[in-house]
Symmetry: C2
Subunit: 374 residues, 2 copies
């Protein structure tokens, strides 16, 4: 059995306010190309198809369109689960009809107890669920997701056909994995992550939830990672999908190339505005700039946006960065005008425009006059 | 061809704040029973499956469950369209898979140009759409829904197979029909209704949108009406479905029996509280009371609710009803306490409780004291 493992599509997610639908569409197109080229027998999506429980209409339209293309047009069997970002009930719409075309979409814990068999492999699709769901099913008090898994995994193993390989698809945090900034922590009421031990009897565990493919270092237990970078902490992450072969027992990574990459750059403001400098850069990327400048730069963000349309933000380094901001604020002294302009700059990453400066000066003057009169 | 015509399920709708999910479930169960008893070959739902574009999770769960029961378990072909209350894009989820089991769900105007053929009949499923959609398709300026239909109907008729019957399923206001209070007026930018003339070439037009089966008096053009009473203006309406037979050219009405009917009753408060009187009433109904009393009744709504759990409201007749309220307000005079208690009663339909009366008296006293001091 040869399948493609992806997860965390988060359709509808925005990056610092920028719409990613087109980027997401392109990444799914590339996933389909890889699936075709690699002649996989199924595509596995390990949760978080949508970014939110009630996605925008445009997100619904994109996911619907791509699922139709993958399953009905390209005829790929699809094995998917709901993640913590999806509304299980909403995502379940259409599910019993999907099944007729080998599109298996599991949104309830108990559905994991019905293995999906393909070629030499049994797939167990265990969606994101709450300890309460396990309590209800097993009729006992279950407070953590670890406790729930200690009941769920043996229940799944009862269904094991010893002549077949066993693949688990699920969507949780495994203890010891590395997080990025764009994941929502699943820790309701102090729940912890899951121990790797739980998964030792599966030939492969296809995980979703963490956005980095390197979140966990284990050949048989893997996060595929998200198809796109969803936060600045993922800038150095390589995004892609895994091709898993249960016969040869190999797992190969296939990278995805984004339309707009997410990059961080250290530079001076002057460099960023110099043609010789910026012509060497891909200005259509999502750029986060770390500015070396100390001086006040009027109209900074607008100037940058005119050259770099997808600026994510600016961070001042050289003593003006986040870590020293608080100390600076506390130590700040001098004329009100200086204090306020530097405060504005620290908070907004931008400098006062001429008009803003004029208003500030007028405001300070008015306050001074008032003081004199009182 | 023998089919059942229903519409305007409005799953998730509330009646004066009361949840109707259980009532809606029961009405769909009765629709299924009628379909089975009448041995229909298809069930037609003429729009407004949901009450809102983003229905609550419980509404999604109920509709999903009932569509599975009708189409996959009971094996009824389903022909449905989106109405003005549905989000076409959201409702379309799953649609190409539904088709595999003869569940045809049309959410786009252009889908009406692909007839669905059953036995001796061609069905044209024309969902609710905006004039703009027709403008875009026909590449000309179309400002009203009447203008749009003047282009859409001939386009549909191009698909007519002269050897078959022709049924149109759609969701609009036909000029001259009678409205109730629970329909949302579809009149964007001064659009008007549709003339009956448009539908003369169809053997039957199965309409949704208006909630009364008697909204239009025409054997071949009919609103099925909603399965439940959704407003006080529908109290005298008989709710049900039509069984249409294209062979015998008959249309038969089959009533639905609600769990909780919506009723209006004229009575005195004393009567409503008298066992001999109320034991003759079905107190589990949704009751709207027209009270003959003139006197202030302390704690009125709570007293009524303890006997009639689903009171919708109280209207004072005998000079205290809506129409004279404004005049009364204007003429109101006397002590502040009397003015405020009668104002409260007029606005809320309820009387001040003892505590409220105490607060009022204290408030008036405090205001008087203040006046004296100033």
């Amino acid at each position: 059995m040869r399948f493609l493992h992806t997860a965390d599509w988060h359709i509808g997610k925005k990056l610092h306010g920028y719409d990613l639908l087109n980027d997401q569409k392109e990444s799914i197109n590339q996933i389909i190309e890889i699936a075709e080229k690699e002649k996989v027998e199924a595509i596995v999506i390990a949760g978080d198809l949508y970014d939110r429980a009630v996605p925008a209409v445009e997100a619904v339209e994109l996911l619907n369109q791509k699922l139709i293309e993958i399953n009905l047009e390209k005829k790929f069997p699809l094995l998917a689960i709901s993640g913590n970002h999806d509304s299980a009930s909403r995502l379940a719409t259409g599910q019993p009809w999907y099944r007729l075309k080998n599109f298996q979409l599991h949104t309830k814990m108990t559905q994991a107890f019905e293995p999906i068999e393909f070629v030499d492999t049994q797939f167990f699709l265990l969606p994101y669920f709450e300890p309460m769901d396990a309590s209800f099913y097993f009729q006992e008090e279950i407070r953590t997701i670890q406790q729930a898994f200690e009941k769920v995994i043996p229940e799944i193993k009862k269904q094991f056909d010893p002549h077949k390989k066993h693949v688990l698809v699920t969507h949780f945090f495994i203890t010891g994995s590395l997080r990025t900034e764009s994941e929502t922590t699943i820790e309701v009421g102090g729940l912890n992550g899951l121990s790797k031990e739980l998964f030792k009897d599966f030939d492969y565990t296809a995980l979703g939830h963490l956005h980095s493919k390197n979140a966990i270092r284990n050949g048989k237990i893997r996060y595929s990672g998200s198809p796109l970078k969803f936060s600045l902490s993922e800038t150095n992450d390589e995004k892609g999908v895994f091709i898993v072969d249960t016969l040869t027992e190999t797992v190969d990574f296939h990278p995805l190339k984004p339309i707009r990459d997410v990059k961080v750059l250290q530079a001076s403001f002057q460099e960023l505005l110099t043609p010789n400098y910026y012509q060497k850069l891909d200005r259509t990327c999502f750029w986060q700039f770390e500015l070396k400048d100390r001086a006040i730069i009027p109209n900074m963000m607008n100037q940058l946006r005119s050259l770099y349309p997808f600026v994510l933000g600016v961070q001042r380094i050289n003593g003006r960065n986040e870590s020293v901001k608080l100390q600076e604020l506390q130590k700040r002294s001098g004329k009100p005008e200086e204090m306020l302009t530097s405060f504005f700059e620290d908070i907004t990453g931008d400098s006062l425009t001429k008009s803003q400066l004029k208003w500030l000066q007028e405001g300070i003057q008015a306050a001074n006059d008032q003081e004199v009169r009182d």
